[in-house]
Symmetry: C2
Subunit: 255 residues, 2 copies
């Protein structure tokens, strides 16, 4: 009988072309699907809470697949890890409740974006935080972050060329904190448009230096991408937490 | 006129064969010396506070070299970083006081050893912390760590085949702490024998599971390597701080 298995997955995105299947073979999805094929003996489609771009990391990505093989759902994390490369780990697996869908059922997603705001970059955070040597003002960063809270049309905070049904999203929290020598932006929302967090961060980095301080307001009001400034690089971004009704990755992986 | 320049260097040791010159060309020392040659126009010998093994990291290594070139001592960190690979950074440079020697003048060295004591390894700490899935008892780890404090003959805590003048060393502090989901051993000493910290950690990991609980005491008493247990892997180890009279890396790089 077919069961739906759900998993929490962590990955260091540095060496991959993002979540989605790629012709290069270096999408995280297909690397995991190949391991699932070896374990289950049949082709599996792994549905994630959403795609992540090339270079973006996940502390807690959620994905599901269907199988009729006899491996208990709880054992999949261990079984997969024996074959996966060390920069991808399944850290939890269970049998999903009836009708669960990793993408359609998402209630909240949380991202973090880390910035190393020092003169010299650090070898240990080089792949996980943006090195930014222009001095940033923490109070200004949080002033900027607060502007995103609530329901807004985020059309200006989306990569060009994409056409989603709606560009309205709700941001529940949006805040910068100092954490182990990094400036870390934590944001929670109902969902995010393509490149949305990275464009938000790009705009806030300008604001945090007292440059283009009308940009965020104008971008939200007019929907014009130009006001929002440049897109911040992928490697500072991490998918930190995904929440569903009755299932929260934070109960298993501390964000 | 010849001046002595001193630097604080950070490196992610994952992709290198340790500090020292190697036939492979992948010693951190020679990678830096090649950059110094490009900058100064003459051959430079870079003297570090001590060697680190293949895979071992440095949050704060100290090294000096002599030069008569006209680049101000304070500018060397910036100048070097333009040419160095991203996993090696000079984070500070200045002109050393008369007669300073990075190795001979060391007063205290501090190492940290990180352990990820969870069921599944973590992609983000995989190169900086040992994944150890056997349950460790923090109180036991600290009981073991305390045994090293003071002046002891550490002959048993040294890789075989090495013959230093003396195997007596003083340990000033030796303690385990929980830090961001890791168990971290911090140790400060007058100096360390070859592989000493890694053998200490190997012995403590046994003790922390209530195995071989006489091993550390017997190893210290008899000097027999066999009592101390296995050597812990290199990648969990980081040189965290070096102290001299009047110069402490902790003033520049927070350990």
């Amino acid at each position: 009988m077919k069961r739906r298995v759900r998993m929490i997955i962590q990955y260091d995105g540095t060496n991959y072309e993002g979540w989605q299947r790629q012709l290069t073979g270096m999408g995280i999805q297909q690397i995991m699907e190949e391991e699932l094929f070896k374990l289950t003996g049949h082709e599996c489609v792994l549905n994630a809470s959403g795609r992540t771009d090339s270079g973006v990391h996940a502390l807690a990505q959620v994905a599901h697949f269907d199988t009729d093989c006899r491996i208990p759902a709880e054992k999949f994390a261990f079984a997969l890890n024996t074959g996966l490369p060390r920069d991808i780990r399944a850290v939890y697996s269970d049998e999903a409740p009836q009708g669960f869908h990793a993408r359609f059922d998402v209630k909240r997603k949380h991202y973090r974006y880390a910035v190393k705001n020092t003169r010299h970059d650090c070898p240990f955070t080089r792949n996980y935080a943006l090195h930014y040597h222009w001095k940033l003002d923490m109070a200004k960063l949080n002033e900027a972050a607060a502007m995103f809270v609530g329901e807004h049309d985020f059309k200006a905070f989306m990569a060009v060329g994409v056409k989603p049904k709606s560009t309205v999203r709700t941001i529940y929290s949006s805040e910068w904190k100092e954490e182990n020598g990094l400036l870390v932006f934590n944001v929670a929302g109902s969902g995010f448009l393509y490149n949305m967090v990275r464009i938000m961060v790009g705009a806030m980095l300008q604001y945090g230096q007292n440059r283009n301080t009308d940009g965020i307001r104008l971008a939200l009001e007019t929907g014009k991408r130009d006001y929002a400034g440049p897109t911040a690089p992928a490697h500072g971004l991490t998918l930190a937490r995904v929440q569903y009704d009755g299932f929260d990755t934070a109960d298993i992986v501390k964000p």
